[in-house]
Structures are given as C-alpha cells and as structure tokens.
Amino acid sequence: MSKKTNFLSLGLVRGVFAMLVGMPLGMGLVTLIRLAVGLPAWNAEPAWVVGGLVGAVAFMIGVGSLSDWFKLAAGGELPEHPAGAVNGWARYFNFTLDHKVIGVQYGVLSLLMFSIAGLFALIFRTELVQTGLQYLNADEFNTLISLHGIVMIMAILLGVAAMSNYLTPLMIGANDMAFPRLNSFAFWINVPSGIFLLSSLFLGGFDTGWTGYPPLSVRAPLGIQMFFLGVYLFGLSSILGALNIIVTVVRLRAPGMTFFRMPIFVWSAFATALISATATQLIALSFQMVMFQRLFGMGFFDPARGGNVLLFQHLFWFYSHPAVYVFVLTGLGTISELLPVFVRKPLFGYRWVAVSSLGIALIGFFVWAHHMFTSGMSEFLRVPFMYSTLLVAVPTGVKFFSWVATMWRGKMSFETPMLFVLGAISIFLVGGLSGPPNAVVATDLHLHDTYFIVGHFHATMFGGFVFPFMAAVYFWFPKVTGRMFNERLGKLHFWLMFPAFFVQSFGQMFIGLFGMRRRIADYDPALGFEQPNWLITIAGMVIALSVLIFFINLVYSTKRGPVAVANPWRSRSPEWLLPSPIPEHNYPQPLEIVGEPYDYGLVGSVFVRIPSTAVIEEPVK
C-alpha cells in the first residue's frame, strides 16, 4: 500500500497548509458578520479568536483526522483494523491509528515543547543574573515566564500521554486503544495548540503568568487570547486521551488480568486519566469566561458589575491542582515499574502502591484552595483545605516507603534508566517534603508567591515527571527503535543533570525563604540575591547542556546504536515478549495472565503466557 512519499503526502504539511487557509477564512467571516451587524469591520480580538478556531478545524481536516468521521456521518462503514496507509518514517507525520506511533508522536512533540520552554527559561534566567534590566524589558520578561510555564505544562501533558499511549495497551495485552481514531485526533489537536501558544509571543505576549488570573488577564494584550486557545485545545486533547485510556483499561485487559494484576504503570495511567477526563473541563471553562469577558464584555470577574475575582481562582485551581497529580502520577508509576526490574525484587506492597495512585488522584480533587490561602477566602475555610492538602502526603509517603523497602536487600544495578529512577526518587522527595510548609496556612503566608514555591514545584515536576520520563525513554528505547542507546552518554546526561538540578532547586528555595518574590523581572540589589541567582542560571544551563547530550544520544542511537537483544532488562512485563520494534497489531495471539506481575525471585513464577506457544518464563540466565 505504500505510496511514494512526497511533501504533500505528509499529514502535518497538509494540516499546516489548511490552517494557513482556514485562519484568514475565519477572520474574514468575523469581519463580514461585524459588517453585517453594523460594527466597525476590523477588530483584532474576535478575528484572531475565530480565525484560530477555524484554523484549528482546518488543520484537523488537512491532517485527515476528520475524514473517517465524515465518512461515518455520511453513512459509510469503517474497517476495524485498516492496514497502515503510510509506512516508514512518514507514519510519524501522518494520521495513524497505531497507538505506538501516536505514543512516539506525543513523545517527540513533548520533547520539542520542552526544549522551547527550556530555552525561554534560559533567556529569562540570563536576565535574572544581574539586578536591573539588561536584555529584556519587563513585558518581554513576563511573557517569557508565562510561556515557559504553560509550554512546560503542555510538554508534561504530552509526555504523560506519550507514555500512557505507548505502554498501556501493550501492558494490558491489548492490540490498540479502545478508540484509535479519537486517539489520533487527541494527538493532532496539540499541534495547532502549540502553534497558538507560541504565536502569542508575536501578538503582544501576555503578562499574567500561566495562571492567568483576572482582572489582569482581562487587561492583558491580545496574546492572551492565543494562550487561552492553546490551552483550550490541549485541554480537549487531555480529556479525549484520558477517556480513551480509561475505556481501554476497563475493557481491553487480557484474560486473567484482574485489576490487581495490572502492571503498576497502568494503575497510575488509569488514576491520571480519571483526573484529566473530568477536572480539565474546569480550566477550559474558567479561561472561556475570561475570553468572553474580553470579547463580549461579560462581567464575571468585574466587581463593579457584580462579578467576583475569586470565582476564577476556584474554577482554575479545581483543575490545576489535580493537574499537578496528572503531571506526577505516571512518573511515579514509571518509578514503581522500573525499580523492581533493576533491583530484581518484587515491588514491595504492590497493592498499597497501586491504590496509593488512586488515593492521590481522588484526594487531589478536594484540596484546590491551598493555592488561595492569602487570597482572602473566609478564614475558617482555610483549615479544612490545610487538612486535606496534608492528607495527600500520606499516600505519597506510602509510595516512598514502599520504594525504599523494594530496594532493601535487593540486588541493585545502575544502568542509565535506574540512575534516573533513583534521581527521580530523591528529587521528588525534596519537592514533596517542601509541600507541607506550603500546605500549612501559617507558613504559607510567608511562602506564597515566593521562589520557595518555584523551587517546590520544579522539584516535584523534575522528580515526578522529567526524571522518570527520561528513565522511561531510556528504558523503552530498545523497544521502540530496536537499538540500544549509548550508555556512556546516558550516564553523562545523568551526572550533569542531577547535581545541576539540586543546585537550581535548592537555590530557588533558599532565596525564596529570604524574600525573593516570584515573577519579578528585577530585584533589589540590597537583598544580596545576585550570587544565588547567578548559580541558578548556571545550573539551568548545565541542565540544558545535559538535555542536548540526551538528544544527541537519541538521534545517534536510533540510527547507529547496537541492535538490542529481545529483553535487555530481563523485565517480566508482556511488551518485552514481542520483537522490537513491535509489529503494527501488537500481539499475534491473545495473552493469558497467569500470575503476579512483579514476582522477581519467586522460582517458577509466570506472569504472562501466550497460549499455544511456549510458556515464556524468566529469560535464560
């Protein structure tokens, strides 16, 4: 079926072209409507918003993501498992139903966004080395931190989706996700989303931080509308992707795989999806309300017209707090998944770890107001939120203690993925332990909106996402590409990134305690923060260097790396039974689950069996 690949056969290219056509169309539409109702023809805001929406739809049409649904609506039938229309590398730039390809697409886009956001960080960090403004003006600075924040968050969500898309069906023995078309749609909608987010840079930027609190966001430049649009679209992607994961996990598990026999990663993907599928609606709604206040003058957040600025914060954090657990849970799942492999011991207290994910996710729904301790909520209401926030520490603690118990008396080896796992544990511990001081109202009165918070969340996000994600990339790299990565470069990556991160994060916490506020372009020289800020910046650059090494390693090893053996880590997880790279429809026969997933060290134990072929046991020693 493979056609000759030319430029236009790439869905991405077609999509971008369609978008370039769609946006002016949408703008023209608005202009016409405005003319028709007698308003001045040109108004940039509605034109860009509608243009953006039409452009996004056009992009999806151009990619080919909607074709099947149009066909269905017109009464056509769809094949359940169409053969891939495109093969080779071009698959990765096209609409495809294969969850593994989509997983890689997510991963690559995630790393791209991560680099862009990281670059923004390096730029504004350079500005912060000295007091005074040297390279940026205050508006540019504010735009850059805001974009750094939101693009990083998008990168995390993409990375999370990458892992759960690639791994979940494999781990539960399914051949694909429950709704492959929806899955592909959920990926591709991220491309216009990313374009919008970045385009805000050229439309005046926005100076509100990623949180976009009104009334500031009502007064911000046009760029903020592009920010809203971008968040809207990747929110949609989150919801649809999560829904797909839940259905997949509930419906497509291999026979014999009860909930308590799922690989632990699947548990965390499931818990994550529960949050994304529901809470995400609220951030969309809150941003939509600001958007409408700007477009139509609706007075949601205007006290002069009976609005209330705190309403936004409640709606926003109702999503954005649970979202931070979206960021980490898959990461923590990865840690729990990899640790037993490298320790050669069962995951200690598998069930406790599994339900801890669920516990974190569910409790996380009821703690949002801890971001608003100083915002002027009623006094006593702060107490139940302090209590519920602290409650999250307990299931998180269960995970930590179980990990440590897993290591106890194990036989640990320290390949690159394991290094990242250990790094992740120690960094997430720092981040997590800096949580309770924020959660306790009295101390948060000092800490709120300082660099201590910045340190807190960089530690949680590096420990909970960045490090585990890199561990996952290294770990499953042979599965995806069929080749091994370069172990030396991998270790170099780790040994640069790990210490540099501690310098960065501790530095941030330190100056935060002493009174450095967040989101300031300049600081008072009298405070004596120049030296720590200089250190933080250098650390950030070292992190960037290590990431560059990581990229070089990936690109080089994909082409030239030594061919990997079937199961280089001697893992028990079912995906390692398959050849690498995995064929399009995963498992030739249905799996049968006959044992527990992590029984390392239990002689004769079997987790997975492919009926009619040989029992797959512990790899030969």
Partner: protein, 344 residues
Amino acid sequence: MNDGKAVMRANLKHFIGAGAFVVVLTVIGVLILNTDRLLPPAAAAQAASIDFLFSVEFKLIAFLFALIIGVMVYSIIFFRRKAGDTDDAVYMPGNARLELAWTLIPLGIVIVLALLGSRALAQTTRIDPQAMEVKVIGQQWTWRFEYPAYDIISTELVLPVNKQALLRLSSVDVIHAFWVPEFRVKQDAIPGGERLLRITPTQLGTYTIMCAELCGRDHAYMNAAVIVKSAQEFDAWVIEQTEAVSDDPLVRGQQLAQQYGCLGCHSTDGTVIIGPSFYQLFGKTESLEGGATVQVDDAYLFEAIRDPGKTIVQGFPNLMQPTTSAGLTDEQINDIIAYIKSLK
C-alpha cells in the same frame, strides 16, 4: 510469603547500620535547616508563631528526608549487584503490618501538623481592639496608605512599634499582595472588597513592602517603605503630616498625583509610560478614539480624570479605571489639574 519478623531478625546488622546512618543524616539536616539562618529577621509579633512552626516543619523535613535518602543510599552501597550475578534477590512481596504503620503514622503527623497550623493561624490573626487602622490601596504599581483616624494619606507606611495595625487592603485595578518578609504574613489586595491583615511590628527600622502577586509590567518595582517608629516619633510624624498640607494647589496637586499613582502611568517629561504624558498636555488638541478631537481644557481634564472610560485618547488602551480617582474630591481633582497645567 516470607514472615516479616524472620527477615527482620536476619537483618539486624543492616537495620542498625542504616538506622545509625539515618540518625546522623537527621542531625546534619537539622543543623543545616536551623531556622534562624534561613529566614529574614523577624520584626513582628505575628512572625513568632510562624517561625516556631517553620522550625517544627524543618525538623520534620530533615528527619523524613534522612529516613528515605538514608535507607536508599545505604541500599545503594550495600545491596548492589555483584558483577556476573544474574540471580534475583530475595522474594519479599510486602508486609501488611509495615504498610499499615507507614500509613497511620504519617496520618497522625498530618493531623498534628494541621492542628499546629490552625493554632499558629489563630495567633497571626489575633485581634487587638485598639489596633490602629490603615487603609492600604494597591494600584498598578504603587501603594497608597490612608490613616482615617488622622486624615493622612501617605506613600509610605509608617507604624508605631508594638501596636497592632489593622490593614484594610483593597485594590483599584488588578490583584496585588501586601508582603513584608520580616513580618512574614501576606495578604492579597483584591478589587471589589476589603481584606484584613493584622501586623504588630516589634522592631524599629525600615522594611520593604513588596507586591507579591503578579500585577503586570512593573510588578517587580511595586515596592514601598514601611517605617516602624517609636510611639513618640510616630506622633511627631502624624503632626508633621497634618501640618504639611500646603496651601498652594499646585503643590497639593503634585502630592496627590504622586499619592494616587497617577505618575505611575503619566510622565511629566513627555515620555509615554502607559497613558499620555502630562507634559504640555494642557491646551493641546487631543484626538480621541472614534475620530473626535478635543481641546484639552479644565472641563475636559476634569472629565478625563473623574470618568476616564468616557473619552479614550487615540492610540491608548482603556486601562485607566474610574476607581483610580474615586477617592478624590472635586477640589483635589482641580488641584491635580492645576499641577498638570503647570507642566509646560
């Protein structure tokens, strides 16, 4: 399943070793995190209970960090795989009693922490009925302090030492936050309502009020001084301020333009900050949004200050809020107009 106890007995040596390691790490951690060194000096009564809580939390953090990292590093050192060993380790799938312990003990800590937190919160919000009231008004990007009892408006916050000040915080435009690191406590000033903050300064000196909530371009510079004076000095200051009201409208106008933050957006030298400059404003012909032009005279200026949304100057965003000038009386506006007129 292995019996947890048997495993424990067999590993007594390791437990003692790891335990000692954890203790040492904890001690080091507590020494490093000694609170006095990690926080700016405390200068308010409210800071005391907060600092106490910080010290409790830091000790807890030091212990928990040492517990996890200690055992982990111990394992890394002593439980590493020897070269060529491809066997699996001991089969140890879990222990319900242990899991229960490390669920319930943290739960207890959490509840205690929440209660300690409530108590400290209560101490920071404790009310002194004799507190001196100050209205604190935040606006992009200045602070204004009004003393209703003395009819003083100031751009610095002057407080008598050892007397509680009740700050009524509000904002005329976006959200700001009042924070003095030495006082520890922080409170947002939001548009559309007053929020209260109580501070009892205990140390004489000058500190910096920082706006702690991103409020747009010059957020970083939205600072003001807070000066803590002895009771006598404070009284002297009050008298000085009340007598300082000039009878020259021009001087009064300049002061008001300073206090009400006009000069934060309008320059006096022709440059554009946010709004049109006041320099040579009077008498010039201004083109308005929508095409009209207008001769800038007293009536226009009055209108533009009292109700800024009505006439928008061509090329400028409608950012000036009616709330900005809501506190000004008509005479005060005329004073400002006099001041604007003088800028030629």
